[in-house]
Amino acid sequence: MQEDPVYDFPEPVGKPIGERRACLQRSSLKSISVLDRLLLTHPVWLQLSINSATALHILQREPPGTFLVRRSNTSQKKVLCVRLADDCLPSFFKQFVIQELDSTFSLERAAISFPDLCRLIAFYCVSRDVLPFPLELPEAIVKASSHKQLESISHMGVEFWSSPLNFRGPRNGPPPVEEAPLPPSPTPEDSGQGALCFINPLFLQFQTALHRRRHQFKRSLKVRVSTENSSPFSPPFAPPPPPPLLAKKKSKKVHQASRAVEARVEGEGGTAPRYAPSLSELDSSSSLSSLEETEENSERPLLTKGTSNPSPPCTSPAHQPVSGLRKLSAAFVSFFVPEKRVARLVEDLSRDKRTAFGVLVQDFLRQQHEVIKPQCQRSGIELLQGIRLFLSQAKTFLLDCGDLQPPIETMVHDDEKAMFRCVLKPLKGQIDGTLQTLHQRDRSTQSMAESLAKARGKTPLECFGVRVGVPDAADVEKVLQKLALMRRAYSPIDKVVLLLQVCKLIYKAMKDNSGEGQEFGADDFLPALSYVLVQCNMPELSVEVEYMMELLESSWLKGEGGYYLTSVYASLCLIQSKPEVVTSSGLTREARDSLKDWSRRRKKLLAHAMLYTWSAVSAFQLHAPSKLESSLATKSHILEWPFIVPTQGAPA
């Protein structure tokens, strides 16, 4: 059958990010997915013809969680029969109607629907959602290690249940009975409460105590956000009112942004990494979602209520019977631009503790709130690296676990805005405070301030050899405003967009002061940029650059945004280098170190398939010998140029 295993085993510690398979499996599962196991053995659990009494008879000897699917004679609907704990009242046996609407399958009262029955069952093997606990496959099916074994089980059909093959060995323990089976509550929000049996791949060590049983999370599950609400069993429901205010206000941007999305998809073939918006397309009205959100949030109905938010803030009848995901789908209708919709979907998932992703993100946030403190951190870069690692892993997890449908999946993959929103937004204040303290502690902010002060007295030409027009005071004021906005944004992408706007202002000033049609390369731009940054006198800018460089995905850093971010970084290095050696050594030791760290980190992140050694990394030290100028042309010097490390003893 499939060669490619659908999921892998957990490798909790030190698994390089970027491994596509972050999903977790119990160790007894070899390389056969739950879905495949279900598909192969459906003659065992899918017993459409049996009646309720037979199902009860079969299941009574089975451990809690065991299930069958049969068809109800009266309603002709499929029914999921689940064995509960022995002491459950009124019976140890409960049936759940499976709804089939528009060729999707969902459990009655559940918010999520699936393209087929197997996927539905596979999902409920992982997540209990509206069930009292997740489903359990028979031990023999779980433990089968080959397709052959599964086929022989399958071959027995219903006979399997009474055969010796159906051994009922000791399990990892009964399903959790710490919580009572759910009453048939009309408020699906309730079903989100209580312990869930998901595993957070990043924090296995913390989690094991909490989660006594490990459950597979099926990679290829497709959870479909249902847009239907016409179930006869659902209480009457009024769709949440679309936010007309918002719609009116945003309509222009909606249009722009969707155009941008189309253009990108077309231009990049949908597969290439996305770069920052092009400088030539930028204008000051570019949408900066991370700055707009404060206002939006007040208008926006709360879509999902996770367990972190136990008291439902809204009790109006219109909201009560509708599950989070249904509300979300209604909000999906049309008013938001695709990117924003995706960001919201992901954000809501991240807050929904009924999803593995939600558990993952919320646990991370909780843990980060504890540790993002100056006294807990050695350096800002380390702090940011930890977050970047999580962003990548969580994104991989989200994509792998298949909570998203393909078009959305692609967007989340290509565009990290959604991830930034659910991870960075809640942490922004704390990160900022901690980074500032750390940079004060290591005196880098002060040193930058001193360097800026030294450079400010000079003319553009003296300063960096600027030979072109530079922005006047009014333009510098505009630049300052952009930079101030930049500091407020949590999204590194938004920050880069603002940075690009700054660069555009600088280009404009250069053009205005030169002949018609002149194009400027880095020879002219870098000096001008350095000059402007000196005029802005914002020592905190290096913290911003650090934030962007560490948190943006490396494919981003290859694009235009990455180029200009690099230019700002280079300018700051230049400014910080000692004036007397600026022509020869260029970079300060701090700059060299941080660059080294950066490259080390990038290597670490990408190391998986890389051949590299630590000695190699340590070779990536920037060093330019002083007195280079004078001897540049001599051949003897060229031999050593430019990475002679020993004299200055750059740290290894």
Binding site: P16, I17, G18, R20, G267, T271, A272, P273, Y275, S278, L279, T396, E409, T410, F464, G465, E519, F520, G521, A522, D523, F525, L526, S554, S555, K558, E560, Y563, Y564, T566, A570, C573, L574, S577, T583, S584, G586, L587, L595, R602, L606, H608, A609, M610, Y612, S615, A616, S618, A619, F620, L622, A624, L628, L632, A633, S636, I638, W641, P642, F643
Partner: protein, 221 residues
């Protein structure tokens, strides 16, 4: 699905970063402008900035996105080079055939790049301004011999006459694709399916042998 960052997979879009190095006044900006301008001669050009340019290509059925990073060539910015060229797939080192000094600078860059990025980076040494053949100060033999000795390819261009430029970039792209494909294969042998690993972070070999092999011929030039 897989990611097409960096080198990219066989049937995906390749994204390459190419860094442009060379002393001020050798014409690297006009070279790259000429290249990107010719293909994209539309309204964009008025707002286009020459420091960072992109180009989309289709080579033997494979899509290639080229990001061209210009660097400041003045001596005072020399030390900033590594900030720009890290993660590069290719480097274009431009000198002015009428200016011997600019050729020396190219040699410096080559040595530095080999040391920093290893042999994975595709190097192009470009003698620009061949329209000024009469004032040539760098001999063709010397330049081509040097390029060969360091595993680089040499090109003669004139931004003014739009000569040799298309060829230079096309050739570079092909070489970068080959490198990426070779890497892809090597990765495949390693049985690792990590799709996020990207080209661009290379072996930075501090082994003296490698350093000699890469740049030992500098002194002979």
């Amino acid at each position: 699905f897989t990611m097409a960052a960096g080198g990219g997979a066989g049937n995906k879009t390749y994204s390459f970063k190419v860094v442009l190095l060379g002393e001020g006044c050798v014409g690297k900006t006009s070279l790259v402008l000429r290249y990107c301008e010719n293909k994209f001669n539309d309204k964009h050009i008025t707002t286009l900035q020459a420091s960072f340019l992109t180009k989309k290509l289709n080579i033997t059925g494979k899509r290639v996105n080229l990001a061209i990073w210009d660097t400041a060539g003045q001596e005072r910015f020399h030390a900033l080079g590594p900030i720009y060229y890290r993660d590069s797939n290719g480097a274009i080192l431009v000198y002015d055939i009428t200016d011997e000094d600019s050729f020396q600078k190219v040699k410096n860059w080559v040595k530095e790049l080999r040391k920093m990025l290893g042999n994975e980076i595709c190097l192009c040494i470009v003698g620009n301004k061949v329209d000024l053949e009469k004032e040539r100060h760098v001999s063709v033999e010397e330049a081509e011999g040097y390029a060969e000795s360091v595993g680089a390819k040499h090109y003669h261009t004139s931004a003014k006459l739009n000569k040799g430029i298309e060829e230079l970039f096309l050739d570079l792209c092909k070489r970068m694709m080959e490198t990426a494909q070779a890497e892809e294969r090597a990765k495949g042998n390693g049985a690792s399916q990590s799709t996020t690993s990207r080209r661009g972070v290379q072996i930075v070999d501090d082994d003296p042998q490698a350093a000699t092999a890469a740049g030992g011929c500098c002194s002979s030039a």
